[in-house]
């Protein structure tokens, strides 16, 4: 099966490990991710201002690209890209007046009426591939690896774009268990990582990272797993500083869910780009005999 997909900016730079491991892991499951051509920024943040239609041009333009390249569905990996594309698509579908304004503004483009379906790869894995098929591809079950699923905000809120139950999601837990790991529930799984507050108030984001990771540590987790490059940045970037500030804080590696799949499927570890990680996962993985 071929699935058109939209990578987004971060997956070409810091989150290279998310993209490459996703492409490789999905290929192992016979799903070829086909990057759409001429994509642009997703818009990053879905604007809530009633009259701020200009903000929706970027995501809608990406959906137009997908449509003209014959995609009826568009796969996404980054939680933020998923969120902005999905919500902009819902806006186009439900608000005929705004749809007309957007289409009129982009007069050089063909009209777009919400024909493309935006999907997150986790939903493709759960609903189409199925956890059993995922388990069948596992060569090195992640036995002994205790991973706390972390969802953050944008995969689950608001309800109309939620990839799972809003308050008690289980989709990442199901994935972790399908590849042989032990999923650790913790109360901060759906709390915000600090998001773009990191730009104006970096200490606030560091505080969030400390709260979230400490909570997972208390529940016995070795690592977090997530799908969002921004959460990943906020949770890993300041760990070394937090270790110095709090004597009982040890920190933990932050994995993209596709990196764990690549490990379990025993794919070339180069696709994980562990060298880009600020919280080095290799000591943990070596101690669990998951890398040599």
């Amino acid at each position: 099966m071929e699935l058109h997909y939209y990578p987004g900016c971060t997956l070409k730079t810091r989150a290279k490990g998310l993209e490459d491991s996703a492409v490789a892991a999905m290929a192992a499951l016979d799903i070829q991710l086909k990057e759409i051509e001429r994509w642009n920024c997703c818009g990053t943040v879905y604007s809530l201002a009633e009259d701020d239609l200009a903000h929706h041009l970027a995501p809608v333009r990406n959906l137009i690209r997908a449509k003209e390249q014959g995609a009826d569905r568009l796969g996404t990996l980054c939680s933020f890209c998923y969120h902005t594309l999905k919500r902009a698509n819902i806006l186009v579908r439900n608000d005929s007046a705004k749809r007309k304004t957007l289409n009129d503004f982009m007069e050089e483009e063909a009209d777009y009426n919400g024909e493309v379906e935006v999907v997150h790869l986790l939903n493709v894995l759960k609903d189409e591939v199925g956890w059993e098929a995922v388990t069948q591809k596992v060569r090195v079950p992640l036995h002994g690896l205790k991973v706390a699923p972390y969802y953050g905000c944008t995969l689950l809120r608001p309800q109309e774009v939620a990839i799972d139950q809003v308050e008690r999601p289980t989709i990442l837990k199901e994935l972790v268990e399908a590849i042989g790991g032990e999923a650790v529930d913790f109360p901060f799984a759906t709390e915000c990582c600090g998001s773009y507050q990191v730009v104006s108030n970096p200490n606030f984001a560091a505080q969030r990272a400390w709260e979230i990771i400490s909570s997972a540590m208390r529940k016995g987790a070795d690592a977090l797993v997530l799908s969002c490059p921004l959460c990943h940045f906020n949770l890993s970037e300041r760990q070394s500083e937090l270790v110095q500030r709090y004597s009982d804080f040890t920190g933990m590696p932050i994995f993209y869910f596709t990196q764990l799949m690549a490990l379990a499927f025993q794919l070339d570890s180069a696709v994980c780009h562990f060298g880009l990680e600020r919280a080095d996962p290799l000591p943990l993985l070596k101690s669990r005999n998951l890398v040599s």
């Binding site: 809003v166 008690r168 109360p187």
Partner: protein, 439 residues
């Protein structure tokens, strides 16, 4: 011609009151109760607001009266199967469930329960991990009738084919493993539906953890009750330690369209104030916190009662909703907002008590369907007219009382029950059923 007998369905405080009023007026009443004893939810409570009476003191005399009244035929452990006919002449099939004990022979001595080798969580104690019941059991000490039933699901004889200890012990030979359920047909002129309420399940609130120390109001009533499974010592279910701090959360599910119940459950403000107060009486150096949206204390003596909780028992009221409850080691954490200061609050405590939405008893909803009674979106029975005919249902000759009609407290339930009983008496006494006439 009107059959001068009545049927009351449901043996809680509303059904008991209605049955007694009709019986005292000289008419024969059948009282059908699905459980093996009457008493309903009220008999589970520790003390009741605003007087702090003990239900065991004020309710058991009424229960005993029901059991002994010459005009009341109590059909406990029974359910209404079907109803046909019309006002003045209903034919009702009542299914008498198999208790596996011949209640005519049983003297209620209790010997059968002493040697039963099986224990199971007690329904009456809301399945709390204190004081389990036996497989042959009477739900509580003051049960009316004081007769045991055998729970087939856990009884060793029914599950493993051998045991029969209770049968050997019974001095009157009342234990009968071969007993079958039977159907009794009765004819009555009028019916009162008083099937009561249940609480929405706390596990269905996904933002709150599922945890032994997060309990609903009735569970905490049992923990506080001097006659309850902890004999009134306040202890938390997980480790039996005395909770030093307890957080109470109002409007859980209620007044919350997101959870499907936009209505106010009407009693939670009062019973949470009461539970916090009783907790403080039991643990004077403990601290109680109540998260609330508004305080709705509109009954007689109710506002004074809430003020007493604040002033005398030093309950801390926090105006705001709780967004999340989760375990953090030994403690439970409650995240919420204090909307008076506009700040986020985190309360670290040992137990959390949830004021869950009151919903109609699911068995009552099923029954309303069988009887053809109109209900609202949530299953509460709809009155014939919201203002002027509040006791009549959409079916002539069938009346409603208590929480089957909507959330309400004990005095309102009792008043409504007496009102419904007087409607029934008017019908029985007049000797003719006048349909479609508003009185």
């Amino acid at each position: 011609m009107v059959i001068k007998k009545a049927l009351v369905i449901g043996g809680g405080v509303a059904g008991i009151q209605a049955a007694l009023d009709i019986a005292d007026a000289g008419y024969e009443v059948f009282l059908v109760e699905k459980d093996s004893s009457i008493g309903g939810h009220m008999i589970q409570y520790s003390e009741v607001f605003p007087t702090l009476d003990c239900p065991q003191c004020i309710m058991t005399p009424k229960m005993v009266q029901v059991g002994q009244h010459p005009n009341i035929r109590l059909l406990a452990y029974s359910e209404v199967e079907s109803v046909s006919g019309e006002a003045g002449n209903f034919t009702v099939q009542v299914r008498r469930k198999a208790s596996y004990v011949n209640w005519k022979k049983c003297t209620g001595c209790g010997l059968c329960q002493t040697k039963c080798p099986v224990t199971a969580p007690a329904e009456f104690e809301r399945w709390l991990p204190f004081g389990p019941r036996k497989a042959i059991y009477v739900p509580f000490g003051q049960a009316v009738p004081n007769k045991p039933v055998i729970d087939r699901e856990t009884c060793r004889f029914f599950t493993q084919g051998k045991c029969k200890i209770c049968q050997r012990l019974c001095p009157t030979g009342a234990v009968d493993y071969e007993q079958k359920e039977t159907v009794t047909e009765i004819n009555v002129g009028a019916i009162i539906v008083a099937t009561g309420f249940e609480l929405y399940a706390k596990r269905d609130i996904p933002e709150f953890a599922v945890d032994a120390d997060i309990v609903d109001g009735i569970e905490f009533e049992r923990i506080l009750c001097p006659g309850g499974p902890t004999a009134g010592s306040v202890m938390r279910p997980s480790d039996r330690k005395t909770p030093r701090e307890v957080a109470f959360i109002s409007c859980v599910g209620s007044r919350d369209p997101e959870h499907g119940f936009p209505y106010c459950s009407r009693v939670c403000c009062m019973y949470l104030a009461k539970l916090a107060m009783l907790y403080k009486h039991a643990v004077p150096d403990g601290q109680a916190y109540i998260f609330y949206m508004d305080i709705r204390s509109t009954g007689k003596g109710y506002e004074e009662f809430v003020q007493r909780a604040v002033e005398e028992d030093e309950v801390i009221y926090l105006r705001g909703r709780a967004s999340r409850v989760f375990r953090d080691g030994e403690k439970l954490k409650v995240w919420g907002a204090d909307t008076l200061t506009g700040k986020r609050v985190e309360v670290s405590c040992d137990m959390v008590v949830l004021g869950m939405a009151m919903i109609p008893n699911p068995k009552g909803v099923e029954l309303a369907r069988k009887l053809g009674l109109a209900t609202d979106d949530y299953g509460f029975i709809t009155e014939a007219h919201a203002k002027l005919r509040p006791l009549e249902t959409s079916v002539p000759g069938i009346y409603v009382a208590g929480t089957a009609q909507g959330p309400k407290d004990i005095p309102d339930s009792v008043a409504q029950a007496s009102g419904a009983a007087s409607k029934v008496l008017a019908l029985l006494a007049s000797g003719e059923a006048v349909l479609e006439k508003a009185r």
